[in-house]
Symmetry: C3
Subunit: 298 residues, 3 copies
């Protein structure tokens, strides 16, 4: 039984998502559809790309991941299918698949050119319904018949092979010997502030700086003790995190360790440095937003 | 495997929808349930009727469409099942099914009178749970056993045959030789403004007026060139659209053709004349709302 | 086919719920997942407990009810599975399961201690994904293989048996011979105000007071006639309900019986005394909130 995951910016107040599911199930009644998220901000490419990257690996091998965040619908932007070792990714070629495909590189990419599988008539305003849903359904139906998933389904019937996809420009982390400068790139329902500094970057920065011997010079004010046996190999390293006018001098391993309504930092469940508030919204408390800077000093 | 679609005004913050699904699956574990929309404004009959009409035809033949927007729950309003060539429609007889059944006329209508299939005890406040969900489930279970879908399932066991249903009063389009006057009847998540002027009405108006020769008299200011090979047979006709204090003189075939943050008009994916903003909300930009007038001049 | 119901405070704007479903379906592709509600207010234990209690009994026998409202994630709070006559309940041991388990007492309770079924690596911030989803999936997979559901699945492989769970403190109803004092504990999407006075409590109060003979002394102003043949055995008893500065002197059996935009009272579909407004929001109209007092005088 093939699984199709959905990420869109269609929201839940209209009938767009329900119609896509109807189209899918009309073509492949066996398809299992899982909503990842439909509340992506309209035209929120980075948000959708981030949600997809955080989600895709938890799905069964052979799942089809369909993303429809598509401000260029009806224009000349390509529509693509990318096959990786474990999954199939379908969407407009506007960067929305780029972060996931950086983590799991494509072994085959096809631009959807054959109109054979489109809904007819095909609108220029709702490719989710008329192109992406039916393509996903036909692909999943093919996958149901494939016994050897490692071989997978042939994509060539859907269009012509291409070599690369549109990249997505993302805010980068600046690394100096003294300071790591990142920013908030995602804010979740709880008001937790997710930065673009991932665990590896933080760990490398802390280790490198320590080896470089400049640690004492950059140690400002108090110091952060990384807690949690698994974090950074359990070594007792020291750094401080600054966001807005607040200083955080500890890295916790859970929200509940924080003091009630005091900002805390941790490596979150997607391996990003996150600023949170135990039982409250760090976003509201700090009046932070996407783009708010986060500094790490050693 | 029978499919049941759901439209309600129950929202997603309570347990109402989950309970309806539980009741359905307890009776028919094979039922496949697809949410069309639960965020219909409370008691929003016209909104629900519009969403149903836009959605029902995309579902597999034999699907059961259940709509629970039911301000009269517990009163003497009827509860009905309507069978059409391809589908079954279930809901209160308050007009919520009327637009869909205008597009696909019923060949059998039954008022639900038999209490045999109700949940017991049966409340007067939640017929979605106690009457509509179980009736849908029993009907879908029957459909699973019917081999010849063209013959369909007998409805008589659920109640007594009736001849007509409650109509729904909808804002009508005024047509004169010089101007077409419609209004906004639906606003989607993106702030796109959907008017009650459908493609056929617009096309007929443009053709008739042109044939009548009064086109030059009513041509005001610039002119609209309908683009898109499939629109209006590719002929190059001219008209202007007015909404609030804005004039739109072109009909596009996709959002992306519009200038960034400039109002545009197109025939949307449900064949209605729609006012939109490329990468923005026409609703916010124009401060429009349901009922805002839209004029088309030739 | 085993069914897993979900209640969380994860909302729908992130990917948390979709990821939990992915984890479940990767382990048990046959699992059927039903969302009860994900819009529980962050850390809203009482709200989640109330939604669960109102929902669980409508599901098929053998269903697994998973609740993840878990402000103490990563702390020393227990994670538990409770087996009752008809269902399995899984969640953090913070009281969120307590109301349901008061209605349907557990016959076996296990603290989840075996890490064998956890996702690895196991975070301290997202037990919904790493612990609760996989445990639910493994349990439901076991249930699929159990033929004799009355015997059920053994829980011991997931951890060690415990004897009791964390209670949940809830606002209590004060009963005197003259007045019943309750409060609003839940407000639904329609603005209906659900009180903590249930049907039995109200009925007992009315009967007892009547028997006590003090009814005439406590009868204030007009009087309430309980309507509806099934309510209170059809006897014609009299009482008044006070909320904010309003008096309600009738108990209706449906919303539609109320006058347009006038507050009304009824026993709702979950057997609680509810204050509502026909075609409007009692919450907005009365400016009420959770905790607003409700008085019943005889």
């Amino acid at each position: 039984m093939s699984l199709i995951s959905l990420i869109t910016d269609f929201g839940l107040k209209d009938n767009f998502v329900g119609i896509m599911k109807a189209v899918i199930l009309k073509i492949n009644p066996q398809a299992q559809i899982v909503d990842i998220c439909h509340e992506v901000k309209p035209q929120g490419l980075l948000e959708a790309a981030f949600l997809l990257r955080g989600s895709f690996r938890y799905f069964p091998k052979g799942s089809v991941h369909l993303v429809v965040v598509d401000p260029g619908v009806g224009s000349q932007r390509k529509k693509i299918i990318a096959k990786t070792k474990n999954y199939y990714f379908i969407g407009p070629d506007n960067g929305v698949l780029a972060l996931a495909l950086k983590d799991e590189p494509p072994i085959d990419i096809v631009e959807i050119t054959s109109q054979r599988y489109f809904l007819k008539p095909t609108s220029d305003t709702f490719h989710g319904r008329d192109i992406f849903a039916p393509i996903s359904a036909y692909l999943s139906r093919t996958l149901d018949k494939v016994r050897d998933l490692s071989k997978g389904a042939p994509l060539r019937k859907f269009g012509r092979r291409i070599k690369s996809i549109q990249e997505l420009s993302t805010p980068s982390v600046k690394v100096s010997s003294k300071v790591l400068t990142g920013e908030i790139i995602y804010i979740d329902r709880f008001g937790n502030l997710v930065s673009n500094i991932d665990k590896d970057t933080l760990e490398n920065f802390v280790s490198a700086t320590k080896r470089g011997g400049s640690a004492s010079a950059t140690r400002i004010g108090g110091c952060a003790n990384i807690c949690g046996a698994n974090l950074f190999g359990g070594k007792n390293k020291k750094f401080k995190i600054f966001i807005k006018d607040k200083t955080i001098d500890r890295l916790f391993s859970s929200y509940a360790e924080g003091k009630h309504l005091k900002p805390l930092a941790l490596i979150d469940s997607f391996n990003h440095l996150e600023i949170a508030l135990n039982c409250g919204s760090a976003c509201d408390y700090l009046k932070a937003k996407k783009g708010t800077k986060v500094f790490v000093y050693l």
